[in-house]
Symmetry: C2
Subunit: 328 residues, 2 copies
Amino acid sequence: MSIRVGIMGYGNLGRGVECAVKHNPDMELVAVFTRRNPEDLKILTETAKVYSADDAEKMKDEIDVLIICGGSATDLPVQTPRYVQWYNVVDSFDTHAKIPEHFENVDRAAKESGHVGIISVGWDPGMFSLNRMYANAILTNGRDYTFWGKGVSQGHSDAVRRIAGVKDARQYTIPVESALESVRRGENPELTTREKHTRECFVVAEEGADLARIEEEIKTMPNYFDEYDTTVHFISEEEMKKNHSGIPHGGFVIRTGKTGWEDEHSHVIEYRLRLDSNPEFTSSVIVAYARAAYRMAKEGQTGCRTVFDVAPAYLCAAEGAELRRHML
Amino acid sequence: MSIRVGIMGYGNLGRGVECAVKHNPDMELVAVFTRRNPEDLKILTETAKVYSADDAEKMKDEIDVLIICGGSATDLPVQTPRYVQWYNVVDSFDTHAKIPEHFENVDRAAKESGHVGIISVGWDPGMFSLNRMYANAILTNGRDYTFWGKGVSQGHSDAVRRIAGVKDARQYTIPVESALESVRRGENPELTTREKHTRECFVVAEEGADLARIEEEIKTMPNYFDEYDTTVHFISEEEMKKNHSGIPHGGFVIRTGKTGWEDEHSHVIEYRLRLDSNPEFTSSVIVAYARAAYRMAKEGQTGCRTVFDVAPAYLCAAEGAELRRHML
């Protein structure tokens, strides 16, 4: 019998989950819940149904895991503790500073209802966190570096779009190659914000807008750009559509460290992602953890979990003996 | 209270474990067991004692985890099921084809005695296996590549040393850069053995030996070299000692895969290790899993485990809440 999956929220992430479920033959998409009018929402999976988010509770016997695809700012802090009352859930909560609080809220609700909730799943937090942890556990005497990109930052793109005279904008975060190389050589550099990443903006301006003023406003924007070297390109709407409609991302987690009685040997652990589609990759991670949530709940586990708490074998459709035979 | 560690066998790996324990303040090396005369063995840790391997059983109340540092060919198949009678154990069994059998033997003995045994820990099998599994769970529609090196292959070095006229030899396995690049570009190449790695040998010949014959014997040696492009360098003993006494290794695990409703997006997951000392890195992984074995046993778990079965949080000295706060 398949693992029956529900999706709460059908934006980029929800659609990505739908695609990922298609790539996992032991899973089946049963329902998509939306805050829009369900009749207006077209989904890709013919066998799944669209329901109003208000009806979520009613499907509790039809769905094994509900994947919550809301935003971290206002949706997930409310939705995840709420829906874990009725479902095993997975979310991608990514406000790092608020993870402890979110964990407690979900843990309390999940234990009360007897479900499993896995939070903060994706690649950062998620696979990057895992790689930071494994590398720290191995090289206890070392140093961590995380670089992001090259990729689109949604938050920075939005910030540029809010500037007067900007019609559309796309911001790429780009790791500085020479900094990366220094880290890889084990030089343990101290890197400032400016030395780690550059930012590149592609901007469609309104007709007659003051381009010099827009460029200045971008480059001096506090928190978002002022600590970085930023390049601004003004382009046409057509060019934006043609060359910048994708949502690529990726990055590097590197830990360098020493071993030996006198710290005489150096090591470099590097994890790298190159992603054509940030939301689809994130969704693919989430769907693997939905399988884990299902299996852990079946074993009688309850409460909140993060990627740190999930044994890797729960993620793969294959059974333990097969994994040992073919993947170990 | 510290986790009390014992080491069975004091070769490169055992010595590496000793160094790794020093880097983990929550652990303490209590005993080293050897098949040599204990009085002849000098270890680095002043507070630890050396015992005969025959006395291993006697320490069972003094040691929380015994790390078994024997060879996979003949030692571990006997030692791990034997010592798990008395101890929680970790080994680095790396004969991939015999892992299922070893697992069953250790599992049976561990369940009978009420201990935890974690087998096949290190980087391959070990961290490479984990990365293969995570990447497979995420990108179900994709392709795996593993490259090894640049690094010293002990088995191949030994094979060259067995040739008549060879006094000493060191063999490096080297990944082919163009093949790596093709994989990273997502071209999904079909790669033959020859296209993935080259082999480089440094040989100290006996005086008057027929160098051309030695070179020919190396290059045509079945299984070890005949399927590879091999370069042979004859060097002096001094040069060998000066430039080739280290045991570096490393490699790459790469998975490329597609997501999207019509497989329209490509992704690359890459994990890379660059190790100055293969045995010390392996030991560092093993010691992290010794912590996991200790914790799992404390929870009442018994039986055999591999890296696939161990939730990452067990590996780090820090507690769950701290990990979520700082590493997620």
